[in-house]
């Protein structure tokens, strides 16, 4: 305690040092005076008495120093002096200081900010309890996807699996919710009650479904999403327990789920204002294994690997098909991590990101190091003088240390502020620009790790030259003749390595950036397969939308009800086409990029069925005029037209991907497709009459999936497809002659012809595309920004390093020229040396880039990791920058007046 008190007083002493020193001087003066008086009293002369007093005191100045040291904390005082000196030094060369601080700030701050945003855009970690152990279980089909299976399979997996902690399932569906504000189209997945406990999300209000609600004939209950509850029910806190009309029948609201709960996430953003219904298995579900409209998710038990679970699933699959081992006829399952299926495998992207962060930081550090080293070499003489005047090596080093410390602290501080500001800007962006921007927080671990690395490198690089200088004989440095830094000195070699290192790093980064830019370019230019100009789309949902879960194949083929396509959609389309300004209009059930999707297995008549690989394709009902409204070319045959009514021969149009996959090289026109026969109610086969060019389906940039287009009027009302495609939400596309809003006209058309329909989602095709490509594009823009930042830094650094390297040799060049070297030979000398360093760096960098190219492969679109143009571009750019960076100083070197270079520096 006493020590602490003393320390505190000494610390305080630092502040009032001046006044206390005066006080002590007075005390000493009185001491000497008293001593002198005593001396006089003993008979000494006043001068002698004073002399004696001073001798006994042991020297006034020394006493004062001892007192001072005790009074304050000498090491702290010294450090403060160093800091003040360092600050003065930095102020004296503001350009250097600013450059170093900005470089570090960008290296630490911008780096972190970009990393944070990209990570949250790309990763979108799912907000569920054990998201990392969540598996999606579907039939084994060659390309991964959210493929559906049957409820019976779900039941068997759930009852037989031991390695899965729990298994839950759902079937996607759409419905209409009625509130005081009118009908609202919603996505309405039916889910098993176990899903809630598995995902671990608590309802905002009320409760989750109970097991008793998840059985056939269970009570009609519903859970609302937060957004729907806020928008359509005005955030009524008493909603729980009240009846709400869903799909025409009354359901009791049992709970409201928070906005963070968006399961099933693959249904897209619409789920944010959706509803959830309990899965109550229908008769078909309970009896038909071919009734494949069901999705299964499972949670791995702790400690169980995916491979183990997959093995168990294989065994269950064999068991289901009635065998003990897997045979040719076993319909296998595949378990894929839910997150991976949703966002694609992100690990390579994450690694690439880390690599990019590390590279940018490395370059920043290399730049700053070089700045420090160059500065120190320039100050060699100053150090020599100070060393000659008696400054210890440690004292000199300490001073440099403080300079480095100060710089890096200022740089990192600025970096943290920069990162914070950048993230604040990100949060200020309009809603939805970046998914869940509000929750993007600064990655403190990343910031701190980067800052720590930056500080260590800066301090080390500030220390190194100081030690080099201190070790050297001050005498030599003081003599003008040895002032130059030749290529063979320690510092010269250091600079050489730095040049090479920077060139290598820049090559790596430039190649990486080039590949990403190329990808960005390809995405921008990627084939949509349709025009986006003047095309508006909207969705319509019948009041009595059936929903997939209540579908049934009707056995009566006689006296089947008339189709909504003939009764409503066809007349409505006629009216729309006659609306002024409308050029063409069509109906499509699986509009590109909307996420409305129905996949079905099929058979090509006359072709052998491959049991291991079930043929699946997207199926969509379509009206006449679709190809024209969308501007998609018909490649073969003809498109579906008004003549394809229910009584005409059944026809179908397939897309190019379908043709490629199932009719490699053969003409598909005239071939027949069977879409399930009795199982689905599609008794009659469909004859292919044409091939439509590919359109993007659910994601811009991913390859097109085989598609079967059926005339809307030729879908039997007794089939499953009728309810799944037509008796639910359908999309309309309207091509107008000019940029005009059509929403009001469409509303009035429906109001007159089909008043029960809910219209929604009015938007242009352009905005649909923009929305879809946004997150990918944003991710790429950010990555490019990242790399651009690094490249700019590299170019500046490279130029600095090379020109510095030449200017070190001014003196040597002067000597050479004095000895008779010509200007051109001097320029050649400098150029040769620069070229050698750049060449070596380029080779090293290209080798690195080749190795690293594999890492970002997953992120590239239609670009090979060994993209020739990118490599050429990187090499050319770096050679140019390198040459310019050497040429300018080479010219300066060759124009040196030898005498001036020798005399003065």
């Amino acid at each position: 305690m006493r020590q602490l008190r003393a320390l505190w007083i000494r610390l305080r002493g630092l502040i009032g040092a001046r006044r206390d020193e005066d006080d002590f001087a007075a005390e000493l003066e009185s001491h000497v005076a008293m001593h002198t008086e005593d001396g006089i009293r003993t008979g000494l002369s006043p001068t002698e008495a004073r002399r004696q007093a001073l001798i006994r005191l042991g020297g006034a100045e020394q006493t004062r120093q001892a007192y001072r040291e005790r009074h304050t904390l000498p090491w702290l005082e010294n450090s403060l002096r160093d800091v003040r000196y360092a600050l003065r030094q930095l102020r004296k060369s503001p350009g250097f200081a600013l450059l170093a601080i900005v470089t570090l700030a960008l290296g630490v701050g911008a780096n972190t900010a970009i990393f944070t945003v990209i990570e949250s855009v790309l990763m979108r970690p799912l907000p569920y309890a054990h998201a990392d152990r969540l598996l999606y279980i579907g039939p084994k089909i060659d390309t991964p996807g959210f493929y559906k299976t049957s409820w019976l399979n779900y039941r068997d997996i759930r009852s037989q699996s031991r390695l899965l902690k729990d298994v839950a399932g759902y079937s996607e569906d759409l419905s209409v919710v009625e509130s005081a504000d009118g009908p609202q189209n919603v996505v309405a997945p039916h889910i098993t009650p176990s899903l809630f406990s598995m995902l671990g999300t608590r309802p905002l209000l009320g409760r989750a479904f109970t097991e008793a609600e998840g059985v056939t004939g269970g009570p009609s209950v519903v859970m609302l999403s937060e957004e729907l509850w806020r928008q359509n029910f005005h955030a009524d806190r008493n909603i729980v327990g009240r009846p709400v009309k869903v799909g025409g029948t009354l359901h009791t609201v049992v709970g409201v789920m928070p906005a963070s709960f968006q399961f099933p996430d693959e249904m897209g953003p619409d789920i944010r204002k959706g509803i959830w219904l309990p899965l109550q298995p229908s008769q078909e579900m309970l009896t038909e294994r071919g009734y494949q409209f069901f999705s299964i998710v499972g949670e791995l038990a702790p400690g169980v690997t995916r491979a183990q679970a997959q093995q168990e699933l294989d065994a269950i699959a064999a068991h289901i098909s009635g065998a003990t081992t897997i045979t040719k006829n076993t319909n296998l399952f595949r378990a894929t991590p839910y997150q991976e299926l949703l966002t694609g495998s992100v690990r390579p992207v994450l690694y690439a990101l880390f690599a990019a962060v590390a590279l940018v930081l490395l370059i920043a550090c290399a730049n700053v190091s070089h700045l420090m080293i160059a500065r120190c070499l320039g100050r060699q003489q100053e150090f020599a003088v100070r060393s000659a005047l008696g400054a210890g090596r440690w004292r000199l080093a300490r001073q440099m240390l403080w300079e480095g410390m100060l710089l890096s602290l200022l740089g990192c501080g600025a970096g943290v502020i920069l990162a914070q500001l950048a993230l604040r800007l990100v949060r200020k962006l309009p809603d939805g620009t970046i998914p869940s921007a509000d929750s993007i927080g600064l990655h403190w671990t990343v910031v701190l790790a980067l800052a720590a690395i930056a500080i260590v490198t800066t301090v080390l690089s500030s220390l190194l030259p100081a030690l080099l200088v201190a070790r050297s004989d001050p005498q030599a440095a003081l003599q003008a003749a040895s002032r130059g830094v030749g290529p063979r000195t320690v510092s010269g070699k250091l600079t050489g390595w730095l040049v090479m290192g920077e060139v290598a790093l820049s090559t790596l980064l430039l190649v990486g950036t080039g590949l990403l830019f190329h990808t960005l370019w390809n995405l921008e230019e990627s084939q949509l397969g349709f025009d986006t100009d003047r095309v508006t789309t909207f969705s319509a949902t019948p009041e009595d939308a059936a929903g997939f879960s209540n579908m049934a194949v009707s056995d009566e083929t006689q006296g089947a009800p008339a189709s909504v396509a003939t009764l409503v959609y066809q007349p409505v389309l006629e009216r729309i086409r006659h609306t002024p300004g409308v050029q063409s209009a069509a109906l499509i059930t699986a509009l590109p990029l909307t996420g409305f999707d129905l996949k079905s297995s099929f058979e090509i008549l006359g072709q052998a069925k491959d049991p291991a690989n079930e043929a699946q394709a997207r199926v969509s009902a379509v009206s006449s005029d679709y190809a024209r409204a969308m501007g998609t070319p018909v490649l073969r045959g003809r498109m579906i037209g008004d003549e394809d009514v229910s009584t005409a021969p059944f026809v179908t149009v397939i897309n190019q991907a379908f043709e490629k996959k199932y009719f490699a090289g053969k003409d598909p026109v005239g071939k027949q497709l069977n879409l399930g026969g009795k199982d689905t109610g599609m008794i009659k086969p469909y004859t292919i009459i044409g091939v439509l060019a590919d359109q993007v389906d659910n994601k811009v940039g991913s390859p097109a999936i085989p598609l079967i287009l059926l005339p809307q009027q030729q879908i039997p009302t007794t089939s499953l497809f009728y309810q799944a495609l037509l008796k639910t939400t359908v999309s309309f596309v309207v091509k107008t002659g000019a940029e005009i809003p059509v929403a009001a006209e469409m509303q009035s058309v429906f109001h007159q012809a089909a008043p029960g329909f809910a219209l929604d989602d009015f938007q242009t095709m352009r905005s649909l595309v923009d929305k879809n490509t946004f997150s990918h594009k944003l991710g790429l823009y950010l990555v490019a920004l990242f790399a651009g930042l690094a490249v700019a830094m590299v170019i500046a650094g490279l130029y600095g390093v090379l020109s510095q390297f030449v200017s070190y040799r001014r003196h040597e060049i002067g000597v050479r020229m004095a000895l008779g070297a010509s200007r051109s030979s001097v320029a050649r000398l400098v150029l040769r040396q620069g070229a050698m360093l750049i060449g070596a760096g380029l080779v090293a960098g290209l080798l690195l880039a080749l190795a690293a190219g594999r890492l970002i492969k997953g992120f590239l679109y239609h670009v090979q990791p060994l993209d020739l143009w990118t490599y050429l571009f990187a090499v050319l750019l770096l050679t140019c920058v390198g040459l310019i960076a050497t040429l300018i100083p080479a010219r300066r070197a060759s124009s040196i007046e030898p005498m001036r270079a020798l005399r003065a520096e």
């Binding site: 006493r2 007075a26 005390e27 000493l28 001491h31 008293m34 006994r56 006493t63 001892a66 007192y67």
Partner: protein
């Protein structure tokens, strides 16, 4: 061995405290002279070292100082013991006595094996 001894490390503080305890408030010069007198002029104090020692004691809170007027009407800084200082004198004196007693046992002529 010289005629006069330097002050051993660490003992100066105790000497100063003890002197202040017996003599009451003293200025630096007076304190130095008093210490020399008490030692029977066996100790030769380097006066310069006294002041940092006093400063240390003051920082530790054992003594306090104020400006006053000396017997010769000279402005001087007077030091006096605080309560904590009084306690410290007792404690340090006891410790010192114990230490010297222990040492004395070693230095005493061996009485028996």
């Amino acid at each position: 061995m010289g005629e006069k001894n330097d002050v051993w490390q660490g003992t100066l503080a105790l000497m100063a405290l003890r002197t202040l305890e017996t003599m009451g408030p003293l200025h630096g010069y007076g304190l130095a002279r008093r210490i020399e007198q008490t030692s029977g002029d066996l100790l030769q104090l380097n006066y310069g070292t006294l002041y940092p020692a006093l400063l240390k004691l003051e920082q530790e809170g054992y003594i306090r100082s104020r400006w006053g007027v000396s017997e010769n009407n000279r402005r001087a800084k007077f030091y006096e013991l605080t309560k904590a200082g009084q306690r410290q004198v007792k404690k340090a004196a006891a410790e010192w006595e114990q230490a010297t007693a222990i040492l004395a046992r070693f230095l005493a002529p061996a009485e028996e094996a």
